[in-house]
């Protein structure tokens, strides 16, 4: 499955990802340090105390030295530095913990996206030009036209406010604390995944319609196979290939979308940290989280490209 060529390809891609991460984080690093003032000015410290802090964070050194120290720390120890606002807080363990939380939400969102998208797409294709098809196709445009926070707001309004007596209104995580169980996860995951589910549904429908007219489907029918077997085993399998092509933008969309959704629901994940640290002007965390994101997006792209090789044996790198 993975030939020598594929391995070389993976190595090339990894180098490119490393290059992109370094380039992007350098731009952010330089950009942030060119801003007037520094993060510590807001502390209203004077004289020696201020000087000590500046020295502690190495902000008195030339920019190039600061960047060198940052880069060496990241590469040799995986150390992203220390928060400027919450003093003494190490960023790497914090970010890794938050990554776990985000992965839970994002993973479930991906399951919703693909599951819902495939089922709706197949139904629309099998019942082409019936009312069910029209309803599903129109809903999918509505679905990807709605920002995820709008979907989230309506879900909370319905399940958390209007049906509070039934559901107990437990969707306000800010009040109850984050437990990370399914009861807390499904709503944000659904809001995060639904717009992309619409896109998957559209694409699945289109490619199913194409596949269903192929000769080998007619052959399968002629053999007397049951319709369900034909759809699932013969048609869907081949209809999946174009769907996989949008997996990469999908995963990236869910990663970026999680910034909005985590802030909306108060989920203590990477996305919330990113937005909050930007608003708090905690430069160290902004750079740290962003470096993390750049690496994640690069790796997600690579994994999806490798998934082609597994699913479609005709593709080789």
């Amino acid at each position: 499955m993975f030939t020598k060529g594929t391995l070389i390809y993976i190595a090339q891609r990894l180098v490119l990802i490393g290059f992109t991460v370094v380039a992007v984080s350098s731009v952010v690093f330089v950009g942030i340090h060119r801003l007037p003032g520094d993060a510590l000015l807001s502390e209203r410290l004077r004289g020696q105390a201020y000087q000590l802090l500046v020295h502690h964070y190495g902000l008195d050194q030339p920019l190039i030295v600061q960047y060198w120290n940052f880069a060496v720390g990241v590469i040799t120890r995986g150390d992203l530095g220390e928060s400027l606002v919450n003093r003494g807080l190490k960023i790497t363990p914090l970010v890794l913990h938050e990554l776990g939380v985000s992965a839970e939400v994002g993973g479930l969102a991906l399951v919703f996206t693909i599951g819902l998208g495939l089922v709706l797409g197949v139904f629309a294709a099998v019942r082409q030009n019936t009312w069910l098809d029209y309803v599903l196709t129109t809903t999918s445009v509505v679905g990807y036209s709605m920002p995820n926070f709008v979907i989230a707001a309506f879900l909370i309004l319905v399940f958390g406010v209007w049906l509070q007596n039934v559901t107990g209104g437990t969707f306000f995580y800010q009040l109850g604390g984050w437990r990370g169980d399914f009861g807390q996860l499904w709503l944000p995951a659904f809001a995060l995944g639904f717009p992309y589910a619409s896109i998957v549904a559209r694409l699945t429908r289109a490619s199913m319609l194409e596949v269903i007219r192929q000769d080998y489907i007619r052959t399968a029918r002629a053999k007397g196979l049951r319709e369900r077997v034909i759809i699932v085993r013969h048609a869907l399998r081949n209809a999946l290939i174009p769907v996989i092509t949008i997996l990469a933008p999908l995963v990236i969309g869910i990663i970026t979308g999680s910034v909005v959704i985590e802030n909306f629901f108060g989920i203590p994940g990477l996305g919330k940290e990113f937005a909050q640290s930007i608003l708090n002007r905690d430069y160290a965390i902004v750079i740290g989280v962003f470096t993390m994101y750049a690496a994640m997006v690069g790796l997600a792209n690579l994994l999806v490209d490798l998934a082609y090789v597994v699913i479609d044996p005709r593709i080789r790198y």
Binding site: T20, T138, V141, S145, M146, A153, L157, T256, A275, Y293
Partner: protein, 296 residues
Amino acid sequence: MATAAVVVDAQPIAPEQVSLWSDAWRRLRRNRLALVATIFLTFLVVVALVSLVWTPYRMSEIGVTQTYAPPSSAHLLGADELGRDLLSRLMVGAQVSLVVGVGTQLLVLAVGVPIGLLAGYYRGWLDSVVSFIINVFYGIPDILVAMIMVFLLGPSLRNIIIAIVVTRWMDMARLVRGQAFSLREREFIEAARAAGARPLKMLFGHLFPNALGPIIVQATLGIPAAILFEAFLSFLGVGVQPPTPSWGSMANEGVAAIQYAPHMVIAPSIALSLTLMAFNFLGDGLRDALDPRSRR
């Protein structure tokens, strides 16, 4: 009688010649969803223009009624947490959305079309460089980069537009590159080359007009994407700054009050969704009208 027969013969037998554009217009008019979308968008533009000179109340005036007042006949959409009239703010918010949506797409056209034409027509090393840059830009998470850019440049409408263009120009560039790539092999381009057309004339006189259909569709579908982008930024608090209302920031304020003033989140959410939907339906309609073969 003989003369009459001649007259009849003179009538054209072939169907009336129809240009691509009038044909597309006819198809678009038959698409009911696209038509409704066009009417809605016209209405939106009118609202945005009207709000430049008149809103029911001054959009940033505090305490025109009770805070969190529910919709009433005096305040059709109610009031927000500072007692500002929501309808007035929603109307001004339409300006922001339209300026961001249309403004970014004009800039994206200005950046993406020349780059795409050059790369697709000249190919070679130029195309390799452009394709590499496009791929690098596709590899970075757009909203996150835009957030950082707005953070670095300072939040303002202009900087938001710049941030969106920087992170989304390559959609257009890639499309135009692909169009130029296939068009350059066609006979009429070869004829133009044989006739000695200069490079500028070649790119913008021959290639560009023939790629116009897909470009228009792409630009139309880029508008809702840009509006959504701005709403995300404003929702997170790094977008348009108060007191200028944006539908995204209004929704954000509404979420905080969702338990006791749900109208605050419902109004901007519906406005945003309808606008995005209208642009998407119009874009889909244009695609079907301009290129009937791509019909899904």
